[in-house]
């Protein structure tokens, strides 16, 4: 079994990004600038934002964090977004989800300038992805494609099964794997909470992408010998042996899967580092799109 080392791939790509940012600087071109809006102080969101800003520093991007109180009105948030849309210094930005329940997420996402939507969540970017047009891909599926590329894992004609139909992982992943591109051309089955025969379908899969958020749902017995297994799940489970009191568990039972899989991502250290890498790649793309304008 070959471990898919997300940290290594992320490091490799981030080094490339860093070099490109340095070159840009030497050529007098603009330094990419990623902004983030954080509403309230959800602890998980604080951690994600911290890592995103750290990653920007690592590759030489500028970054800004706009903190808004959990009581901010939708109108005030939309005003902040309008400012970012208009600000030529900001190449791309994200609004960290989830938002407080009094704010309509759909409306917020729709107000983001699609050319700065480096999370790839705006419907027009989702539509472009479906149509194979240039746009920003959602960061996690984008990161998974980059892992498949790095390890030269063939996908064309393979049977890929995606577990979970979330808007930000499972659904775009299933679409991307079926499109016409080097990490696509797979026969893709999308399974979810309403699916029957999940075990049988998984047993026939050459490639499994698990994005359910159900710890160790995928057991070794559900996998075909030689499958490629990408574990997107990361759920905190209590673990008294850890200093923090919890451990991160993927959707795949790692030890069992390791006996069957040809390629397998660990949790943590698999897909996780690739998600932020996808965001960095999108931000670099955003500034390059502006160069040409």
């Amino acid at each position: 079994m070959q471990l898919i080392d997300g940290k290594k791939v992320a490091h490799h790509i981030r080094e490339q990004i860093k070099q490109e940012v340095n070159q840009r600087r030497e050529q007098g071109k603009k330094t990419p600038h990623l902004a983030a809006i954080l509403v309230g102080n959800n602890p998980a969101s604080e951690i994600y934002i911290h890592y995103k800003i750290k990653a920007c520093e690592e590759v030489g991007f500028s970054s800004s964090l706009i903190r808004l109180s959990a009581q901010v009105s939708e109108a005030q948030l939309l005003e902040e977004i309008a400012k970012l849309n208009e600000n030529p210094q900001i190449d791309g930005y994200i609004v960290q989800l989830p938002l407080p329940s009094h704010i309509a997420e759909d409306k917020v996402i729709l107000s983001i300038d699609p050319d700065k939507d480096v999370d790839g969540f705006h419907p027009i970017n989702i539509g472009r992805m479906v149509l194979g047009q240039k746009g920003f891909l959602p960061a996690t599926p984008f990161g998974v494609l980059k892992m498949l590329e790095y390890y030269e894992i063939p996908t064309a004609g393979k049977h890929a099964v995606v577990l979970g139909r979330s808007h930000i992982v499972g659904t775009p992943m299933s679409i991307l794997l079926s499109r016409k591109h080097p990490q696509g051309n797979a026969s893709v089955t999308l399974l979810h909470s309403r699916s029957q025969h999940i075990e049988k379908t998984l047993q026939e899969a050459d490639i499994v992408v698990a994005a359910l958020g159900m710890p160790e749902f995928v057991r070794g017995s559900m996998l075909k010998k030689g499958a490629v297994v990408i574990d997107v799940g990361t759920t905190r489970v209590e673990d008294a042996s850890k200093k923090s009191g919890y451990a991160l568990k993927g959707d795949v039972h790692f030890d069992e899967a390791a006996e069957k899989a040809a390629f397998l991502t660990p949790v943590p250290g698999g897909v996780g580092p690739m998600t932020i890498t996808g965001l960095l790649l999108n931000t670099l793309e955003a500034v390059k799109n502006k160069d040409n304008k």
Copy 2:
């Protein structure tokens, strides 16, 4: 085997639309108005446009046809589109495809006001479909959902296999069948020209949607007993016994499939009439969206 009678379903829905248009008239509300732009005179396009205009008359919609020469420049076409976007009389419009090769289709579709894009081809409408947001669905997959609804064919938890990944049929069909709605919640596999094991995968399908454009590709031996078979293919094949010299053939071998299927659409008279019905439904929706503004 139960024949899925597209003509009957289309007639039923069009009667409902007609009644709603009459009610609107009595209430002093606007009559829905569909416009179409036809570039050049591709014979198949002429026929499609003819049927679309006829269907508008049938349900009491107003319609306009804008004919442009095959030599029209892209800029001129975009000007015509801008006029339709601005014209408050026009509730929805379509640009009949294909366009001459000197015109960029993507650019044309992107210039259509998404609120008037009753073909559902604009990336933002595709994105909304993926995200389960309100928008216009592409007419053919929309028509297929309406057939499933009419015949009360359950889809939740079923294994649906879609053959063909075109932007206007196969891909949106595969997405729609997996979404959370009464004709969705299926486990969906999307197969295409690069897929392996097509026969084996089809044999496991509870629902088959064939949209390849390859006459009689799906044989009886490829189907599970009791499958629901929706044939979107319509290819002209030579047939000396017909006055016209040709016959329309679906992607499914009808006689063989009839031995295995629980439900089956004929060609012609199956999905065909439902496509224009989908377009009419979108146009009615477009005018109703304006009522509320």
